[in-house]
Symmetry: C2
Subunit: 341 residues, 2 copies
C-alpha cells in the first residue's frame, strides 16, 4: 500500500487552485494599509496615524443559515452575511473596519464553492473599505458531511480611545431609535429550520415555495443578506451614546450589553412594523411572543441610543429610523422590557 | 405545537453557563492592553506606543488532530495547539502577540468540553503574553456530529515596520538552522488517521496501544502539544533574516514562502534526527519519502535563516538548533531541495 495525502482525502492540488481564486478576490479588497501580498505567514497591515488607537475585534460565524445555502446550492451570499455581521459588531463600539480574515472548513474542497464564498466575502469587504488579508482553508475529511462547510470570520477595526461607544453615558430620557433589519440576518435559523421541517430530503422544494406575504420564495427570504449599517452610521457616531447590534438573544439579550446598571429600556412594538417573515415563522412553529423576541431581531437590526436633543437631527439623517423606545430609571425588574401590542 | 429554541437543539442556558466558565479562563490572560471586559460587541485592545506599527494577523485551525482528541475524550490540549500555531505564524514575520480570539462550533454544547478547550487556549495565551479577548461559541445542530466540534483561532500581533522579517535579505552563503518540533504539531493527521485506520470504531484501543519506539502510547504521541517558539526566538529576532514555520506543506511548502526569487535552500536530512513517530507513520502507511516531507514537519518545527557571521551566536543561544542546510543561488530547479540520507 502506498498512501498519499490525496488518497487520505486531502487534495493539495485542488487546494492550490482554490487558493489562486481566493487571492484574486482578496487582492481587489486591498486598502492602503495592506503591507504584503497574501502568502506570508501572517497578514500585514500598517496602522497609520492615530493618537490613542484602540483595536476592536470580533469573531463570528453564519450559523445554520449555511444549511439553507447548502440546500439551495447557493454560496455567494453567506460571505456577505459574515462580513456584515462582523462590521456591525465592531461598529457598535464606534470602530471602523481595517481588515478581515476568514476560516473555511470543509470535508472535501470544491474550488467553485469556495470561490463563491470568497467572492461574497470580498464584495462585502470592499463595500466596507475592509481589506481581506488572510484566511485558512481547512480540509477535514470525516468532520464535515460531503458538500458541507463551516465558515467563520474575524475582523479588526480601530477607534480613537475617547470615541469608544459603550453606552456608559446613557441617562433616563435618552431616545431609543431602531434601524430596520433586512430579514433574519444570521440568527434563529435552527428554529426556522425546525419550524418548516427543513431537515428533510424535500428541503429544497420547501425553500422554493412562493409565499404571497413574502412576495418571494421562502429560500430567497431566508438567504437575504445580513444588512451592514456602517455607511449610514459613520457620520453620526459622535452623536451616539450606545449602539446594540441585534443578533442571537434578540433585543433583550443584546441591548442589555450596553446599559448602565441603573438604566432600563422599554420598547413598544407598536412603533415599528414586524416584517412578514417573523409572523410566518411564528405561526408555522407555534412559537410564543417572548421566545420570538429572545431569538430573532423582529425587524430591528441595530438599536441607537442618543440624547433627546440629538434625536431630530439623527432621525432626519436616517429617514428609515423609528423611535422604538425610551431609556428609564431601572428600578425593580428587567433591564429590557418589551411591550408587545 | 410549541416550538422553542431549546427544542430545536440550541440551549441558550447551557450556552450561558459555558460563557461564564470561558470568561473566567479568559480574564486570567488579560494584559495591560485590554480595555474592556468580555461582553461588549467587540474585544477592545489599546495598542500603546509604536513608531510605525504593523499589525500581523493569522487564522488557523487544528485540523483533524481534533479527531484524536474526540477519540480519547481529551480536550485540554487542542487549544494549546491552536494558540501556539498562531503565535508561531506571526512570529515568523517578526511580530509578537497582542490578542487572540477563538471560534468554537459544535452540534450540541457540552460545557465541560468547551471549558477544557478554553482552559487550553487560555494557558497557551498566558504563556505567550497574549490576551484572549473574544470568541464565538456556535451551536449548529445538524452540521457537526454529536460530541464533535471544530475550533479556529485568530491572532493579532505587532511589529515595528523596519523589524518585519520576510526573508528578502537572504543571500547565498547564509546559514539555515532548524529548531526541533515536538511531534506532528498540527499537520498531516488525515494521513496518519488513514495509515493507522483510526476511522474505525476501535480507534480508542489503537490509540491506547503502547509503542516501545515512542516510549508511550500512540495517542499520547499524537496529542503532543504543538510547540511554541516565541520565548527562545524573541531575543534573537533582530539577527534573523528569515523564519519559516513548518506546517502543512512541510519544509518545501513553507520555506519557499520566505525565499527571494534568486535563492534556493538545500536541506540535508543527515544533519538532524527524524523522530521515531515519522518513521512509524511512514512504515505503517507505506508512504514515499517525498510525500512524507511534503506533508509532515519531519522533526523541524521552525527554520531560521541568518548571516553566516551570526550563526555561532545564535547556535549558542539555542543549543537545540541544528545547522540543517544552506542558502545557494537558485539557478535551475526547485527552490527547496531536500537531500535525504
Amino acid at each position: 500500500m502506498h498512501l498519499t495525502y490525496r488518497s487520505a482525502g486531502v487534495d493539495l492540488d485542488a487546494a492550490d487552485e482554490a487558493v489562486r481564486r481566493v487571492r484574486q478576490y482578496a487582492r481587489a479588497t486591498f486598502t492602503e494599509g495592506v503591507v504584503t501580498d497574501i502568502g506570508a505567514f501572517g497578514g500585514l497591515f500598517a496602522l497609520g496615524k492615530y493618537r490613542e488607537p484602540v483595536l476592536v475585534s470580533s469573531v463570528d460565524g453564519v450559523g445554520t443559515k449555511l444549511k439553507i445555502a447548502f440546500a439551495l446550492d447557493r454560496h455567494d451570499t453567506v460571505g456577505q452575511d459574515l462580513v456584515n455581521h462582523c462590521v456591525n459588531d465592531i461598529l457598535a463600539c464606534g470602530a471602523q473596519p481595517l481588515f478581515f480574515l476568514d476560516y473555511f472548513a470543509t470535508g472535501g474542497l470544491k474550488p467553485d464553492q469556495l470561490g463563491d464564498v470568497v467572492k461574497g466575502l470580498a464584495s462585502a469587504c470592499r463595500e466596507a473599505g475592509c481589506a481581506l488579508i488572510g484566511g485558512e482553508t481547512a480540509e477535514m475529511p470525516g468532520l464535515y458531511a460531503p458538500g458541507e462547510y463551516d465558515l467563520a470570520g474575524f475582523i479588526v477595526g480601530v477607534v480613537e480611545r475617547p470615541r469608544i461607544i459603550d453606552g456608559s453615558g446613557i441617562v433616563p430620557g435618552d431616545a431609543v431609535l431602531g434601524l430596520p433589519s433586512s430579514g433574519l440576518h444570521t440568527n434563529g435559523y435552527s428554529l426556522v429550520r425546525r419550524a418548516f421541517g427543513l431537515d428533510s430530503p424535500d428541503a429544497r422544494a420547501k425553500l422554493e415555495q412562493y409565499y404571497v406575504e413574502l412576495g418571494r420564495t421562502l429560500g430567497e427570504e431566508l438567504l437575504e443578506v445580513h444588512r451592514c449599517y456602517l455607511k449610514p452610521l459613520v457620520p453620526l457616531l459622535t452623536r451616539l451614546k450606545g449602539l446594540a447590534h441585534i443578533t442571537g438573544g434578540g433585543l433583550p439579550g443584546n441591548v442589555v450589553r450596553i446599559l448602565p446598571p441603573d438604566i432600563k429600556i422599554r420598547f413598544r412594538t407598536s412603533q415599528w412594523e414586524i416584517p412578514p417573515i417573523f409572523r410566518l415563522v411564528q405561526r408555522q412553529g407555534g412559537i410564543e411572543d417572548a421566545e420570538m423576541f429572545r431569538v430573532f431581531n423582529m425587524g430591528i437590526g441595530m438599536v441607537l441610543v442618543c440624547a433627546a436633543k440629538d434625536k431630530d437631527e439623527i432621525r432626519s439623517a436616517l429617514p428609515e429610523a423609528r423611535e422604538i423606545g425610551e431609556a428609564l430609571p431601572r428600578g425593580e425588574g428587567e433591564p429590557v422590557v418589551i411591550e408587545v401590542s
